[in-house]
């Protein structure tokens, strides 16, 4: 079955279920995925996974209340049961003073994400071959661990009030970590097309990082340093901003760090953060979980806080307009963030730093104080001392505890190059590397 045929079949089934709904208003969100992941460790494939699944969330409104039921079957009988059960569930609830009907459509969507058939249908033998290409670049004395994942997802939103949106996209991602006796290095690449992934080149990047960090120094004191944060670290900051400050629900509840600060300068002028699903580098989809078109959203413009992501409901609570960022019952979050580039290169940042620390990657970061944007975490897979404008040596890992907005406030160099980088707890962002000052290393690890 072609993608178009599959989408039409889904549309037909869902629209039939809505037509047969006993409720006054019905909305159905469907995600269907075929995904595969080849996982390797100790220079061999050790886990190898393939799944086919769906998630169908049915919301039925009776009076001023929504009932919600989720199933993982797209069979007509299962859909009918889910619709009936959701209507029954709604009848049991009290009226919702914040009730909002389903979105009224149809809408036109501004882009179609890329769907690559070879990625959707990538065979395990091909993934194994690609993984072995990466192994060829593993230096002696190092163990490779990582993943190669390929898959396709179909997202659809349909409502009794004219929303009829369905789209499909593919994703391929390769990650590799090389661990040696005294150091490690990591690299990753994400694309809509598996053919765009070059495991050998990515493994080579990880190897260069690992070799450069061999025999690290462990005697550097904790304290505040000038740091160059590479992309993963910056992406982690942006994802925490999204979860604790850029979301409409947190904003409406008064819990966002942007509450009362829209229009205020909160970082330096060199910081602009937007959310733009239409930028192909963010791997975005054209509509949100309510079927609303995803809009380009300016969150911070030259240091000034401009807005947050809204669903129809959070917008209504905040007296704002929806921005097409609903994530269902969890509210609204920007998931396609971009931090604008500067005009430096990584090498220029190093050259301009008399004494500092280069951080390749964070590990297991978490929120210490969401209102003050204080986060903590560790460095991992390549932490380096910079002396007199050069990488002097590798360092063992530090714990950091830092106000992230302050780190952006003090950023004085930003790379011209941006790349999409995933974040440890999920998501990712298109980000440059940045240099900032007085970054707080509050503890040390032993490796």
């Amino acid at each position: 079955m072609s993608t178009a045929e599959f989408e039409n079949a889904v549309r037909e089934r869902i629209e039939d279920a809505i037509a047969g709904s006993p409720a006054e208003d019905t909305e159905i969100l469907v995600t269907s995925n075929i995904s595969a992941l080849t996982r390797f460790a100790n220079n061999q494939i050790h886990q190898n996974h393939h799944e086919e699944n769906a998630e169908v969330t049915v919301r039925c409104a009776v009076g001023r209340r929504w009932g919600t039921v989720t199933t993982n079957s797209l069979d007509p009988e299962a859909l009918k049961k889910a619709v009936d059960d959701a209507a029954d569930a709604a009848r049991l609830l009290p009226d919702d003073p914040e009730f909002i009907p389903s979105a009224e459509g149809p809408y036109r969507y501004s882009f179609t994400p890329e769907f690559d058939k070879p990625t959707a249908e990538c065979e395990p033998s091909r993934r194994a071959l690609m993984v072995k290409k990466g192994f060829e670049k593993v230096p002696d004395g190092y163990e490779a661990a990582g993943t190669l994942s390929t898959g396709a997802v179909t997202l659809g939103v349909f409502s009794a009030r004219g929303i009829s949106a369905i789209t499909s996209a593919t994703t391929a991602e390769y990650t590799i970590l090389l661990t040696g006796k005294t150091s490690s290095g990591y690299a990753e690449e994400t694309s809509r097309r598996v053919t765009a992934i070059d495991p050998a080149a990515i493994a080579k990047r990880a190897a260069e990082k690992a070799i450069a960090g061999e025999n690290p120094r462990s005697d550097l004191d904790i304290g505040r340093y000038t740091v160059i944060l590479e992309e993963e670290a910056v992406a982690t900051f942006l994802m925490f901003f999204s979860w604790t400050g850029f979301g409409g629900q947190e904003f409406a509840d008064g819990e966002s760090f942007l509450c009362g600060r829209l229009g205020e300068k909160i970082t330096g002028e060199n910081i602009t953060i937007v959310d733009d699903a239409a930028d192909p580098r963010t791997f975005g989809l054209p509509f949100d979980f309510e079927g609303m078109p995803r809009q380009r959203l300016t969150i911070i413009e030259h240091g000034i806080a401009r807005g947050v992501a809204h669903s129809r409901k959070t917008a209504s609570k905040s007296g704002a307009l929806p921005t097409g960022h609903s994530v269902g019952p969890w509210g609204a979050y920007p998931t396609n963030l971009i931090l604008s580039p500067g005009d430096s290169s990584r090498d220029e940042m190093i050259k301009a730093t008399e004494r500092g620390i280069l951080v390749s990657r964070f590990h297991y970061s978490n929120v210490v104080d969401p209102k003050k944007t204080v986060y903590t975490g560790l460095t991992r897979d390549g932490t380096f001392l910079i002396e007199n404008g050069e990488i002097a040596c590798g360092l063992t890992n530090f714990r950091w505890t830092q106000n992230a907005l302050e780190a952006l406030e003090k950023a004085d160099m930003i790379s011209a190059e941006q790349r999409f980088n995933s974040a440890f707890f999920g998501g990712g962002a298109v980000v440059p590397a940045i240099r900032t000052h007085e970054f707080n290393f509050s503890g040390k690890s032993d490796h």
Partner: protein, 480 residues
Amino acid sequence: MKELADFFRANAQRTGVSYADIRITGLARESLTVKNGRVDNISKSAEAGFGVRVLHRGCWGFAASNHVNRAEIERITMLAMEIAMASSTAKREDVRLDDTPAAQGTYVTPHTKDPFAWSTEEKLALLFDWNKKMKSVKGLTNATSSMDFFREEQYFASTEGALIEQTILESGAGIEAVAIQNGEMQRRCYPNSFRGQFHTGGWELLEPYDIGGNAERIAEEAVMLLSAPELPHMRTTLIIEGAQLGLQVHESIGHPIELDRVLGMEAAYAGMSFVTLDKRGNLKYGSDIMHVTADATLPGGLGTFGWDDDGVPAQRVDIIKDGVFLNYLTNRETAGIVGQRSNGTNRADGFNRAPIIRMTNINLEPGTWELDALIADTEDGIWMETNKSWSIDDRRVNFQFGCELAREIKGGKLGKVYKNPNYTGITTEFWGSMDAVCNKNHWKIWGTPNCGKGQPSQTAHVAHGTAPARFRNVEVGVRG
């Protein structure tokens, strides 16, 4: 189900693979949230599917589908076999399973009050009542009350002859009070953070927490924290209450003793472990009073079951005794490496994930102290409770935890409240400084329903039995 399992076995045996198993599951979830006097979210979900694991040419292949029928089982089994063949083109060593005998049997989580048989109206009435009590406190901004129920019916069959039917029932509930003023936010949760306390069992296990009876107190504490001083940065004696200590056990003991992590199988994502193979029987993990068990037989624990997803029976194992590290968490694939049979910790997050080593109930066994006596015995120190944030390095050495509330201990008495407390340390130094653990009167099993691991990601439901314990010379009050 039995008929599908028999079909799977006959079909898998015909393919000539060295081992195969199937898990057919049906999962029901119910989640209810009331926020600020209105229903925020009520969702009921039901999902079904199956996953097939094949060991072929010394390698694993796994495939899963949400269509449960004979033709799909046949297709998915062949796909899993094809995946295993692909794995075998990039292998170093063959996977060898241990010789655990194939089990047959049935397990149902013991319970007396099935939450799924309880009406939505009754659940909502309780949630609204908790909400109202919190909102009655002046200065409170947001009040959230929640319940979560989970029932998984699983049918496991293997080509070795295992045939196991299990029904796992889980119940959880909690409240969260948030106070916001002048750009500052303080949060208090009860009985625990992240949607409360979770057990395997029915509602009867949550009743003793008297959530409604604690709602006003929790809201008052959230408001009080706004005007409390910040905990100063210092080294001091620290007494940690049970729920926070549960997460400390989770991150600094539970994860590092997973043998797959020790062997590098998780390196790419969550990291490795400082508890390398040479440490078994040698590492002084903590002080002499430290006794840690992995016990999947513990009634009410979120890591309690009949058999794991290898078909290995639930067990109780000493992990650390007299402060010395003794045993890893193992599965049938890894146990042989340490010369043992699996101790039954291989679990999957649903039909569409292959099982990996997961914590069961990892417990710091009770000590001898009454809590009052322990506080009275502490001249100068800090009490901390309820987790707010957690972070630990990729070998589980350096950790930092934030808590919701701290109290000063002066002259053996609890004193003033501090806000935004946190503490940090190095795993073996920290456990080595433990000089007192409270007794079984203060020991509770704390559910952790959000343990992440694996690629693709899996969320496990695990637990930790703990009582408050005292640690010396701990760094607290780290600032950003």
